[in-house]
Symmetry: C2
Subunit: 138 residues, 2 copies
DNA sequence: CCACAATACATGTATATGCATCCATATCGA
DNA sequence: TCGATATGGATGCATATACATGTATTGTGG
């Protein structure tokens, strides 16, 4: 199952990134822009939790995105935290990226069919949930 | 969809690799061992095709696995090709790894249910196939 | 046979990602 | 309040992964 997911991830990532390449961002970066757009200001740890990603792995990607001016970070009341927000350049980048993303997504959905699409989203979320909640004892 | 798959891949990879860590191999490496075990001798390009992985990405992983003595490579009749096989240490490694892998896998399958499991395998393969065959026009 | 296009990898470069470990800060118990 | 512990990130290190480009080899039309 792990191998199947990893293989499909590679295929999907290539598909999406091929479309995103002219815009100069990677799949992970788009996901982060979308997440911050939805969530507003969050800590690095919270973002990691939302993405099921090691929060220290985010340090590097966030640094790249910070250099490009897409996000800003500031210390929170708890001064260990980095609280992250979209910067205006990030909003702009996201806005110009969404149509491209949407186009790939809708074509793929058409190929797969609405039912398979829906099942996939539901099942992937279920797997993530199960692994996260039962991971220790699995 | 890409984000969902990537997130679930991260979760699954952590789950499987947590179990595999004492054995000193990564998820990708196990997949390659399994593939070579099933396929016998194949070229690097064929292996990349089977895994939906850029064949030049395999160069590094295969080098690591070669250093550990798990695989061997030789030139084919076409001397540009590297034809890959499991070495005996690779067979041994695979044999000692399979029970651990099986254990994680079966527990996860129990948590998800047989039907969801089956649907997932079928759907992920479908997505991979669609992306690979229609990728250019998507 | 030969110049040229195509193929199979190798290598350079960049990002993604996780874990172990370290530092700063916060929290909590005595 | 002070010392022990816990928490949030930063950093070092290793692997995963893709693409662009370079190199060796093969295939091909003339």
């Amino acid at each position: 199952m792990c191998g199947s997911f990893r293989r499909t991830s590679r295929a999907l990532t290539q598909l999406y990134e091929q479309a995103l390449r002219p815009l100069g961002l990677r799949a992970t970066q788009l996901t982060i822009l979308q997440m911050l757009s939805l969530a507003g200001e969050v800590s690095q740890g919270q973002l990691g939790e939302m993405l099921t990603m090691d929060s220290t792995s985010l340090t590097r990607t966030l640094a790249i995105m910070g250099r490009r001016g897409w996000i800003t970070a500031r210390r929170g009341k708890d001064r260990r935290e980095r609280r992250l927000r979209l910067a205006s350049a990030g909003v702009t980048q996201l806005r110009s990226t969404l149509p491209v993303w949407e186009k790939v997504q809708s074509r793929l959905r058409r190929q797969l069919g609405a039912q398979a699409w829906k099942n996939l989203l539901q099942l992937t979320h279920q797997v993530t949930r199960v692994v996260k909640t039962e991971g220790g004892s699995l």
